[in-house]
Every structure is written in C-alpha cells, then in structure tokens.
C-alpha cells in the first residue's frame, strides 16, 4: 500500500454511443438517453440479437482516416482530453507525457477487412495487417499528437480501461513519469459480436443490467483521462477535477469467462482499492458498477457490493452500460470519465430501462445498496469508485475523491530480486524453418496439468502456463491460501493470440457471424493466457497483460517491479510469451520481415519470479540477481508516422535511466543482452548505440541466434539469461534491452544479489 504521491485528474475525453464528447455523453447519461440501437456495422440478420451501441462518427471524422477504428476512437478521446487539460503539445513537456491505453479486441475491424480480402483471393492490405495487433495502438495515438512519453497497451479484456489508470498511478508514484493519458478504446467488431452470440451472452433486445439481466449489448467508444502528479498539475496551473486515490487489481483464479459465483475476486479488488486509497468502506458514496447485464455478473456483483458495503447504507450504484453498451476494453475508461463527472458535479447517472414492476422487483434484489433506476440522483459526494470485471477472471477497481485524503507514507521501498526462472524456448525446426518449442501433453501431465484443462488452452496459453509453472518450481514457491492474494502476474506479448483471432475471423467469414464457436472465442482475448495461468496455479493477485511490441517481455518486468514497489504484491511472475504458428509465418512473411536478409521466427515463453527483499529473506529464496534499475523510454524524433522507426535518443535514454537508478557509470557495465535479430539495419543501429555509450569493448550477447526472434519471449529470455549469468558468476552485472513499435525501448539493469 503506497499513497505517498498525490495523483489528480486534469483532463477528460470521451466518445461513445451516447455522445461525441465528455459533456455530451454525461448529459445523455443523466437524462437516461440510451445509445443502443439496431447494429449497423455488419449484417446481423441471422443472429438472435441485433442490437449495438455504436458511435455515429466515421473513422475519418474520428481521426484522419488512416487508422484502425479502435485507434481512431482512442485518438478522438485523447484529443479532447489533451485540450481539456490545457496541454501545450508544442512545449517541451509534451515529450514526457505517456500514453497507456486498454483494449480488448484491438484492430479487429482490420482483422475482418484483411481476412475478407484474402478470402476473396486478394493479397490483403498491408496497412490493415499492421493495424491488427494491440501492440500498435498507444504508440499510434502518441505519435499522432507528437507526444513523446512511454506507451503501453493493456489488454486485459473488459478490465483494461480501469487497469490503465492503475498503471498510471503506479508509474507516477514510482517516479517513472509525471503525466499520463490513461484510458481505453475498442471498436464494434464482428468477432466480439459473434463470440458473445455463440456464448448466448447477448441480450435479445437492449441490455438490462441489475434488472432483467438477460445478457450484454456490445458497444464501442473510448475514454481518456489525464492523470498527473499534483505537483506537476499545480506547476503548470492546470484545472484539477479530482484526486485519484488508489486502485486494486486481482484475479479470480476460477474460470476463463464466468465470474466466481461467490464474488471473492470482486470483493478482494474492492477491498484493495478502498485500502489502497486509505479509506473505509463506509466512505464510498457511489459505485459505477461493472453491471454488464448477464445473470452471472449481476448476481455476483450484487453479492460483492452487498457484502463489502454492508455497513454503508448510503451507497448509490449504477450501471451506465445500460446506455453506452459494453465497450469492452474501453468500458472501464468510459465509466471512469463518467464517474469523475458524477463526483465533481454531484449528479449520479441512472441505470435505465426499468418499468414500474421492475422497480418493485429491484427493491427485493438490491439488498442494502441503492441502485439508481431511470432518473439521476443529485447529491454532493466525496468518494466514488469504478469497477471492472473481465474475462480471464481479471478484476480492477479505482477510487476518485474530492480531497487528497490522508497520505500513507508507511511503505518502505525494498530491493527486488529475481528468485525463479522458467524457460520454454524454441529449437530450430528444419521443416518449418522456424524455432519451435516442444510442448506435449506428457510434459503438462508430469506437472500436474490434466488434459481436461489443457485442451481448452491455445498454444500461446500452453507456452505461458508451462514457463509459469517452471518458474514457480524453480523459485520453490507453492501457492497457498495465505500467499495467493499477494502474488501477481504480468505478461508481455507482441502478437498475443493472433492465431486464435485470425482463425476465429476466418471461421465466421466462412460460416457466418451466427455460427461462431463458443469454445474458441475466449482464447481470442489477449489475457486468456494470464487467466489460465491464474486458474491453474491459484494465483489471485495483480494480473496484467501488456501487448507492446517485442520489448513487451521486458516492459512486463518493469510493470511487475512497479506492482511490487508501488502496489501491494510481494511476488510477481513477469513473463514474455509469443507463439510461432502458420498464421505468424504468414503475417511476418506478408510484412516482408522474414525470408532472405530478414529474421527467423521463433516462439517461446519465459517467466521470471520477481520478489521483494522481505519476502525473499523470509522464504530463504535463491536469488539470481538484484534488479538495480528498470526503465522505458520513447520519443517522436525522425519520421514519427513510421512506427517501425529506430531511435538512438530513446534507446540511450532508457539505458541512462537504469544506470542512474542503479548508481553505475557506463564503464561499470560488464555486458549487454541485446535485441539484435538478424535484420541488418537493426543490428547495426543497436551496436552503434552501445559502442557510443559503453565504448568498443562492451560485451554484447544475443539470444536470438539460438532461439530465433521469439519477440516478447526473446526480450524476457535476455533478462533471464543475464540473471543466470550473474548467478553463475559469468558477469558481475549487465543490462537487458529491447525495442518496440513507435520507438519505445525498455531496459533493466541487474547486479549481484
């Protein structure tokens, strides 16, 4: 628990079915105007439901028409937030603004377009192909506005928008930045529509949360909040909406799509957010609920809210999804914007769609909380909470306040160690020409994973599960009821489940949107691998998946370290995972990155256990190395609309930051685990930068020669190999470095434990 640096909200941006700006959306929400209508983005004739909450603007109206719709929505909301916060993008300050965006379905609209073109015998538009992965969203939004701070795409399905706020808090309180655009964006997509249709989770007509609870209605949109340190906001004379006091993140460790019926994960995240904010349950005045409108969600959420707030008889609750629809990765961010407005204006929006009989029935169902039905409530309030619960059993909660509350200065900073390593690497496969990992049922059985569970997992999730289990074993860690809540997971991936996404999309192009597979759909979400790892191991703490280019496997180490230092975990599993399937072969070949003079694809998963000193000492854990510094850096020099650009400025900055944090000079550094992958231009660039910083004699090691370009898994492998080298006395210290899109670099400095 750490709340020693005041964080405030200074700007808001919102676009969704009920309006094209924050003010429009908030006015609609107060007036109970729903954005749910007949879906128009694609043909739903053969589906049992035809409703959607779509944004009325075209891609060209949202941005300049060059982007995937999810990114375009993000650009629109970010633009409003920047203007609202009075940020001058011409000033030097703009180079320090970070962009953290949540998304669930990422470039699904481009996935659909690309595979439709291919199904019709065409080649597929390369711009669509480049826009498909979540990895490019935040970088594209940052590049669009010439904003030069770090980026992250948080891909924890329907909790992603809320998680972005949690990460912003961790980064600011950890001294890794002063100001962030945090939020989420997601477009309407045939993939998600088909998936929820297959799960029979769509409401036949508009959704009716906490009321008829017969399913969700999908929506689209984006919400962006400017989160800033109080000092930074005051120094630039910013208007301050409110404080953002604290947050919570947890895992259910239960089921890949359904919430725990006993609400345990939801309750633990509410408790975390309240405690992290230094508040009591009785302090919270209003909760913007997850409130999807499925029977399972509404039942467990009623239970969680009633249990946690049993001594709070003034609590108001509403689900604005009754008007905005469920905007997936944008939902938490959209609801956070509406929550901030509710708090600061003293007007609480309703849940819409109740008849007189429904209101009578609600009195019996709601217990001790007050669900706001149909009409807004006018009330001066001090503390408001927004909750999100997602596929994969991911829960996130955030608390906004009119005052800074009592700052908690009691959390001492601790040293962090690598205490476990789990490797799943690819070996060269002559036939495929790629580096493929050997994973089979027997290996899983030997590790206690039954085939009844394993069959549900896609390849990416299987790779992740195996490295996770191996890391826990190596660290001598057994997950128990006592420690499960203080152990978390942070996974980095470049491509995520692109194979499952592409295959699902191809399936519905062939068979129709109405014939999607209920079995396959859950694996199309990026955080499925993290969800399965939590289910299989019983880990119930923090759970984040970052999709942000090849460097994601190192950024996961940075985020995991932050979750311990500035959050509340004792131990984090930090992973990098990417698979190599026929779909990946096709994608990278179409992109022209493999073949003659290109890289050789690989796959794998590497998980490292990161542990705080007190925990490692108490367990008498083996310590591979000490994390002496971690940093990410980015800039917009050069052609900023080329998101494949390299940047000497950013790479140098990331390295200098970890040296400064670790108190080392360049001449003290013994070796670098680099990211070179055989693409000449990249290799030459990288070596030049190292030589400039460290001199001619610096030892540079590469892992991709032996295991191929396994993207995020390679970045994690660089980190793990460095830790091993230090443990085995082969190096006194070293830095692992990797690169992502839009000139983002991450570096981690390891020293002797």
């Amino acid at each position: 628990m750490l709340n020693e640096k005041r964080c405030v909200i200074t700007g808001l941006g919102l676009v969704c079915a009920i309006g094209n700006s924050t003010d429009e959306c908030f006015a609609s929400a107060l007036n109970g105007i729903s954005g749910i209508d007949d879906a128009k983005s694609f043909d739903t004739t053969n589906c049992y439901s035809h409703k959607g909450a779509e944004v009325k603007l075209t891609n060209a109206q949202l941005a300049d028409g060059r982007y995937d719709r999810t990114t375009a929505l993000g650009i629109k909301a970010a633009g409003e937030a920047i203007k609202d916060a009075g940020l001058d993008l011409e000033s030097e300050d703009a180079s320090e603004i970070g962009v953290l965006l949540g998304s669930c379905i990422a470039g699904a609209a481009c996935v659909e377009k690309y595979y439709n073109q291919k199904a019709e015998g065409g080649k597929g538009d390369l711009d669509d192909l480049k826009s498909m992965p979540a990895s490019v969203i935040a970088g594209n939004v940052a590049d669009y506005y010439n904003i030069g701070g770090i980026t992250a795409n948080l891909v924890n399905a329907c909790a992603a928008g809320t998680l972005s706020l949690s990460l912003a808090l961790d980064l600011i309180r950890g001294g890794k930045g002063e100001i962030f655009l945090a939020g989420g964006c997601d477009s309407f997509s045939s993939l998600a529509y088909s998936g929820f249709h297959a799960l029979k989770a769509l409401a036949p007509s508009g959704c009716s949360p906490f009321n008829h609870s017969d399913g969700i209605t999908l929506g689209e949109g984006a919400g962006v909040l400017v989160v800033e340190s109080y000092e930074h906001a005051v120094a630039r004379g910013a208007k301050i909406y409110c404080d953002v006091l604290g947050s919570g993140v947890s895992s259910d460790a239960y089921h890949i799509t359904a919430p725990r019926p006993d609400g345990e994960g939801q309750m633990s995240v509410i408790r975390r957010a309240v405690e992290n904010s230094g508040l009591k349950f009785s302090d919270i005045d209003y909760v913007n609920a997850h409130g999807t409108g499925t029977a399972k969600n509404d039942e467990s959420e009623f239970l969680s809210l009633n249990t946690m707030f049993k001594d709070n008889n003034k609590l108001y609750v509403s689900s604005t999804k009754s008007m905005t629809g469920h905007c997936l990765g944008a939902a938490g961010a959209i609801e956070a914007v509406l929550t901030v407005k509710s708090l600061t204006e003293g007007k609480l929006p309703p849940t819409t769609g109740y008849s007189e009989e429904d209101i009578e029935a609600l009195k019996d169902k709601q217990g001790g909380i007050n669900v706001i039905a149909n009409k807004p409530v006018q009330k001066d309030i001090n503390y408001a909470m927004s909750n999100s619960f997602a596929f994969g059993g991911n829960n996130a909660s955030v608390v906004f306040a009119k005052d800074p509350n009592v700052l908690n200065l009691l959390c001492p900073k601790q040293s962090l160690y690598v205490t476990g390593i789990g490797l799943v690497n690819g070996e060269y496969d002559d036939e495929k020409g790629d580096y493929i990992a050997q994973i089979d049922t027997e290996t899983f059985k030997a590790n206690g994973i039954k085939s009844a569970f394993l069959r549900k997992l896609d390849r990416l999730s299987q790779l992740q599960l195996l490295s996770g289990i191996r890391a826990l074993q190596d660290a001598g860690l057994e997950i128990t009821d006592e420690n499960s809540g203080n152990i978390g997971i942070c996974i980095g991936t470049n491509d995520g489940p692109m194979t499952e996404i592409a295959n699902y999309q191809k399936g519905i192009i062939r068979d129709g949107i109405e014939n999607g597979s209920a079995f396959a759909f859950p694996n199309t979400v990026y955080n499925a691998a993290g969800g399965y790892l939590s289910i299989a191991t019983g880990i119930k703490g923090y759970n984040l998946t970052i999709a942000n280019g090849f460097q994601s496997g190192l950024q996961s180490v940075c985020a995991a370290s932050g979750a311990i230092l500035f959050g509340y975990e004792s131990i984090m599993l930090a992973s990098g995972t990417d698979e190599c399937t026929d779909i990946d072969d096709e994608i990278y070949s179409d992109l022209g990155l493999t073949g003659e003079g290109g890289m050789k694809l690989g796959e794998g998963s590497v998980t490292c256990v990161i542990e705080k000193e007190s925990s490692a000492v108490e367990r008498n854990a083996k310590r591979y190395a000490k994390i002496a510094g971690f940093s990410s850096a980015r800039d917009t020099s050069g052609d900023r609309f080329n998101n494949m650009r390299m940047s000497k400025i950013s790479l140098t900055k990331a390295i200098n930051s970890v040296l400064e944090e670790g108190g080392l000079k360049p001449s003290d550094v013994k070796c670098i685990y680099g990211f070179g992958n055989g693409i000449g231009e990249i290799d030459v660039f990288e070596k030049e930068v190292y030589k400039e910083i460290f001199g001619e004699d610096i030892e540079i090691k590469f892992v991709k020669k032996e295991h191929g370009e396994a993207r995020a898994a390679s970045a994690s492998l660089q980190f793990a190999m460095l830790a091993k080298d230090i443990y085995e006395g082969k190096a006194e210290n070293g830095i692992a470095v990797s690169f992502g899109t839009s000139a983002l670099y991450s570096a981690v400095l390891l020293t002797k434990a």
Partner: protein, 83 residues
C-alpha cells in the same frame, strides 16, 4: 447403440472441444473429472449436434442426464432424429 451416430458425435467432440481422442470412450463421463467439460462446452455440443443431425437438444427438452456421455447423447439423437 447406433455406433455410426456415436462415432460422429465423438468426432465432433474431438474437433470442436479439442478432447484427446484416445481419452474419449463412449461411456466417458463428459462433465465429470475425466473429460472435464463445462457450460461453454455444452453450448458447443448443442451447436455441433444441431449441425450434424438437425436435432435441437434444448428445444427437444434434453436434460443434464442426456449430456452425460456419448452413449446418452447418441440415444437422445436417435430418439429425436427426423422427428
């Protein structure tokens, strides 16, 4: 038991639900410890049976017991086919 129908159902379960073929017997308890199917899988079975045999399990009043194994599913399909 109609083994032709049972084989078709088995093939559907292997393909749609990725159940290892060698672990799936006609009398294996589908929703028990061994195979470990859950509610999402049952949706997939309903769709699979409908597309194979034109039998609507939910509309024809199939109970939990009918979903127990390939044998019980086969019996249900046989009883409701071409009805």
């Amino acid at each position: 038991m109609n083994t032709e129908t049972a084989e078709k159902i088995k093939g559907m379960l292997v393909e749609r639900l990725r159940i290892p073929e060698d672990e799936l017997e006609y009398d294996s308890e589908l929703f028990g410890e061994d195979i470990g199917l859950d509610s999402i899988d049952s949706i997939e079975i309903i769709v699979g049976i409908e597309s194979l045999f034109g039998v609507d399990l939910t509309g024809s009043g199939a109970t939990k017991e009918d979903f127990r194994s390939i044998e019980t599913l086969t019996a249900f399909v046989e009883a409701h086919k071409e009805a």
